[in-house]
């Protein structure tokens, strides 16, 4: 039987978008994956898929044809007064574009997983500006790397080896030896265990620690108390010295900042710190984005609507006000009367109270795999896996667009085709 090794495959799991994966294909089936981390390997190898489209009747999901499931979805969406289209992060930009078109057509609220992840980072950037660089620059130049409230050893397992820690770069030929790595976190994570310095902050005190660092940087260490957020002043002074004297520094920010007290304020403060550090040296910041193309959904939404997430078309034009228009805002207020979950799993990742409302309203799921959202869905439409069975564009966490590859054929429809067919039927029904 023909065995083929497909090289330079892009891993469609996390925002690191590793582009050196090797996939072994035997008789049209993937039999092994090399170079990927356990997360990427598990996704590319695949698990039990949703077999066929399904519609819930009398409480049970029953298999139907694509036509029937698409028709039912179109009816739900065209009947809805306040529909929510949520997800858009584990698929390619081409499908995201179709989603925005659908949202505009039916006056829906369209939101991506940023709203439970780095949404506060995006808001911080909108308020203060966006320091940034590519991961290539980090690899080639960075001699000081700070992982703040993120844990790449578990969430982005190859990030450190490929870009940020052990990676050997043009000006950092020694890799690890040429970089100093700090981890700032509330617990000693796996990443903290391999860092040069671990600084433990009390939960919810990141904002104050940034303020203390800025105060010391501005030359006013005399007014900083002996400990700030559980961190000794001497440690903070040391850190500022390291930051000032490095040649190229970067802070990778994680959900330790976006999910805890202060949310976007934490980001505003760290962006100010980075700004002020640039009076001394080159310093930058990058969010550790989770889903492989959540960055792309922000870009696609923004170039189509002006806004990167939580976009509400109910007024007939794009309106953006996270806190009011993000998926959990409207679900917790019990405001939406129909929902589509595509390429994300709110059933697993939204608070229980949001699920309570999702259970009450018609819910359409488009996804390759069954998951907790399936348990609540009224219509389930299986899709091809983008980046494995469909090629298309995804944005790495540093905003670099990369074309993902198609490795094997499939009988499943792509997300884009499913959305196109729903959109066509919605237009006919609304005429």
């Amino acid at each position: 039987m023909a065995t083929e090794t497909v090289t330079d495959v892009i891993c469609p799991l996390c925002g690191s978008l590793c582009d050196d994966i090797e996939v072994i294909v035997e008789a049209g089936r993937i039999t092994n994956v090399k170079k990927a981390c356990p997360l990427g390997k598990s996704k590319i190898m695949g698990h039990g898929r949703i077999r066929a489209p399904m519609v819930r009747e009398g409480g049970e999901l029953r298999e139907v044809s694509y036509d029937v499931a698409i028709e039912r979805s179109a009816e739900i969406l065209s009947d809805a007064k306040r529909p929510l289209l949520y997800g858009w992060s584990s698929l390619i930009c081409e499908a995201q574009r179709k989603g925005v078109e659908l949202a505009e057509e039916i006056g829906a609220l369209i939101d991506n997983t940023a709203s439970v992840c780095h949404g506060p980072t995006v808001i911080g950037v909108q308020g203060k500006g966006s320091p940034g660089c590519t991961l290539g620059e980090v690899k080639n130049r960075a001699d000081l790397v700070v992982f703040w409230g993120c844990n790449p050893a578990e969430a982005h397992p190859r990030h450190r080896a490929r870009y940020s820690h052990a990676a050997k770069g043009f000006f950092r030929p020694g890799g690890k030896k040429d970089r100093k790595v700090y981890v700032v976190d509330v617990r000693e994570t796996k990443t903290a265990k391999v860092a040069d310095e671990f600084i433990r902050v009390e939960p919810g005190y990141d904002y104050m620690v940034f303020s203390a660092l800025r105060t010391i940087l501005a030359g006013h260490e005399d007014v900083v108390p002996d400990t700030v957020g559980g961190v000794e002043k001497s440690k903070l002074i040391e850190m500022v010295d390291a930051m000032k004297s490095c040649e190229f520094g970067i802070i990778f920010g994680g959900m330790g900042l976006t999910h805890s007290r202060g949310r976007y304020k934490n980001l505003e403060n760290v962006i100010s710190l980075v700004d002020e550090l640039n009076a001394h040296t080159k310093f930058t910041l990058m969010p550790m984005r989770g889903h492989y193309n959540v960055t792309g959904s922000g870009h696609t939404f923004a170039w189509l609507t002006g806004y990167p997430f939580a976009v509400d078309f109910s007024r007939g034009y794009a309106w953006y006000n996270p806190g009011e228009t993000a998926a959990n805002d409207v679900l917790l207020r019990g405001e939406v009367d129909a929902m589509m979950a595509i390429a994300a799993d709110p059933g697993a990742h939204f608070p229980g109270e949001s699920l309570r409302h999702m259970a009450k309203i018609p819910l359409i799921q488009i996804d390759p795999y069954p998951n907790p959202t399936t348990e609540l869905a009224d219509v389930v439409i299986p899709s091809a896996i983008s980046g494995v069975e469909v090629a298309g564009t995804a944005y790495r966490m540093d905003g670099v667009p990369i074309r993902t590859r198609k490795i094997v054929d499939t009988d499943y429809l792509s997300d884009e085709e499913i959305l196109e067919r729903i959109l066509t039927r919605v237009r006919e029904l609304r005429r």
Binding site: L13, P38, L39, S42, K43, G46, H47, G48, S115, V116, G119, P120, I123, N151, E154, A155, P157, V186, R187, E188, T189, K190, K193, R200, P203, G204, M255, T258, H259, S260, R263, Y264, G290, F309, P322, G323, A326, A327, N328, D329, L332, D345, G347, A348, H349, F350, P351, G352, E353, S354, L355, R356, M358, A359, P368, Y369, N371, P372, E375, L376
Partner: protein, 126 residues
Amino acid sequence: MRKVILITGRTIDQGKNLENKMSDEYLDAVARCEMNESLLSEIGATEGDTVRVKTEFGDVVVRAAKDDGLPDGLVFIPMGPWANAVVDTDTGGVGTPGFKGVEATVERTDAPVLPLKELIASYKEA
């Protein structure tokens, strides 16, 4: 019953089962509450015992696990349906629920961990 601060987040085993959530592996990976040795013994639990984690927003039963990287008073539940039964529903003016830094209590219990399907079904109205 011990007062603690709850944080949630990603782990390798949670990530490995991201597209495999209806499996036992996923339940083992995320229906757990990690705490340090001294907190475990303080609540009279050993690894694998079930514990009840309660917040203002709900309560959930998960398995106790040990992680000495956690300081006293901090517990960690991997992100997922069990953690989300107890996270803070206030979206903080930005749309993002409080997945970290939630005041909670933790205690040893004999109650079982609710399987995924039952946990999700509990959100459906009777």
